[in-house]
Amino acid sequence: MLEIDPQLCTGCGVCEDNCAFGAISVVNGLAQVKEQCTLCGNCVDNCEAGALLIEQGEAAVKVNPADYAGVWIYAEFRHGEIAPVAFELLGIGRRLAAARGVQLAAVLMGYDLQDKAQELIWHGADEVFQLDDPGLKDFTDEAYGNVLAHLIKEHKPEIVLAGATAIGRSFIPQVATSMGAGLTADCTDLAIGEDGNLLQTRPAFGGNIMATIVCPDTRPQMATVRPMVMTALPPDKGRQGVVHKLDAGAFNLAARVKVLASVITAPDKVKLAEAEIVVAGGRGLESAKGFALLNELADLLGGSVAASRAVVDAGWIDYPYQVGQTGKTVAPKLYICCGISGAIQHLVGMQSSEVIVAINKDPAAPIFAIATYGIVGDLFEVLPRLITELKNRTL
């Protein structure tokens, strides 16, 4: 609980101003806490009078951090390929390993892995723990989770990172729970703090605030990392590393859930998360027909179309195209929003795009607050002209 010492509180209101949750208000010269308090501690840090205190209590689960060493990444492998996020994890993993002065290892599991482990070494891994077995052909939370948990228990890495993909977000939480380890989801920044702990930064409350999370008393420190946020190192084919080919007999690969079939449906165009250029439409398109214009522009630029939640809910376009809090997160080079007002829910999914162009009728639309270039105007006038002009230029 957040305690306020009435003797020390000066009623200055700094805590009220600093609370992102509106959970403190100063009444009659004294700060008061409301239900919304999430115990984030921001107010405690900012209180000059030292009047605020969060009773931390004694951590129940404690391990000795010194027993753990090394940075691990989980290299996701599905349908014959390593997921691009694995290389991004190696990129950040290298930096963390250097800061800690430890080795960087990758865990690669699946079936028919061929020499994919080599790619991980080229991208920065010092070691690869590889388990190639028919029992891992299909992804099951249980088998994959057992293998990873088993390896963590055996080798005691201090940090374990995985991509915040469907697979990573599905089985990593169970591994963390079984280890009694903390897990921070969907991180956008990772660094090593002065005390050697992993500083895990992630957007919270729909991207309105950023929170840095630490796990001082438990190991390993686990995090899933948003794809497309970290930068992969260029492959160095001369890099040397060790591949540990593990014996499946040592692991429990049994899974209660059985995969009966694995179906690939997403057409290439919906690979939104990887697109470099995204043309997104919102309510301003007025109807499903409005997407014809967007498709034309996207095709011209070699990009993908996307949509706000409102138009997906209205059934104008399918859910795989939805960008935002309840849809996909993208970070392309160029994001063009057409007729999107810029509700928080949407901004969260695209605000890390390099360049944002907004076209909207309403000059007060919040989207303009984050747009690199803004045009106040009717998209049905602007887009056809833009398409014509782009065509002329490329010719």
Partner: protein
């Protein structure tokens, strides 16, 4: 089939607006709602109970106000509602939350099936479902987009993946999380609302679920918030002006610079 559906009360993101000056969110007049993914979990629970027989208990951990949300769940078809509420739970991360929920499920005598939303829109961690399954040692699958059938103690369902879907056979007892494609949540009916008005919401505190106080709330959370800060404002912002034709020409020039970079 005894089904428990886990629900979370969250601030309605639709009403949260970013204050462009301070870059913090303005929560004025922000309502609390049922986490949208959980609405789909509830609908699926009610649908499965109706089709295959069984009961649905709505379970939430939260402040006393979450009771209203649970009434809403009863209005939409849940048979009973349980709120686990205690000041000791405050500041819980997903690890402490799954412990608390697991204790609550055990106190309620377990379940054949537990359904959760994929994630909550305030935290977006997507960890409580899998973590809870782990603690209760249940068969588990995430992101279910369709339940094809339930028979002979197994569920045949489709799990959404990044590139398509997997068809799964999940033996009961199990826990799965759902994505919004799975169904369309119903609107509470008149009779449902009348039932919800009268229903007694069972409230359990930390002692009521037999929880070890050390494992609850902030103290029981391995993850600690180190600091909270406003995201950096985006760099340069330019509003293009002039005629439509002029604006488009300026934009094309800027785009060329971006695309050729």
């Amino acid at each position: 089939m005894k089904i428990i559906v886990c629900l979370k009360q969250v601030p309605d993101a639709k009403n949260v607006r970013l204050d462009p000056k301070t870059n913090t969110m303005s929560r004025e007049g922000v309502k609390s709602i049922m986490n949208p993914f959980d609405e789909h979990a509830l609908e699926e629970a009610v649908r499965l109970a109706a089709e295959y027989g069984g009961s649905v208990t709505a379970l939430s951990m939260g402040p006393p106000q979450a009771g209203e949300m649970l009434r809403g769940a009863v209005a939409c078809g849940a048979d009973a509602a349980v709120l686990v509420s205690d000041r000791a739970f405050a500041g819980a991360d997903t690890w402490a939350t799954t412990y608390t929920l697991a204790r609550a499920v055990i106190t309620l005598g377990g379940a054949d099936l537990i359904i959760c939303g994929k994630q909550a829109i305030d935290g977006d961690t997507a960890q409580v479902g899998p973590g809870l399954a782990g603690r209760l040692d249940l068969a588990y699958a995430s992101c279910i987009k369709k339940v094809q059938e339930v028979k002979d103690g197994v569920i045949i369902a489709q799990r959404m993946m990044d590139d398509g879907y997997d068809e799964l056979e999940i033996p009961l007892p199990a826990l799965f999380t759902v994505v919004k494609e799975i169904n369309e949540p119903r609107i509470a009916s008149l009779k449902g609302k009348m039932k919800a008005k009268k229903v007694e919401i069972k409230v359990l505190d930390a002692a009521g679920i037999g929880a070890d106080p050390k494992l609850l709330g902030l103290a029981g959370s391995p993850t600690k918030v180190d600091k909270v800060f406003a995201p950096e404002a985006r760099g340069e912002r330019t509003m293009l002006t002039g005629t439509v034709a002029g604006q488009v020409t300026q934009l094309v020039e800027k785009l060329e610079a971006v695309l050729n970079a």
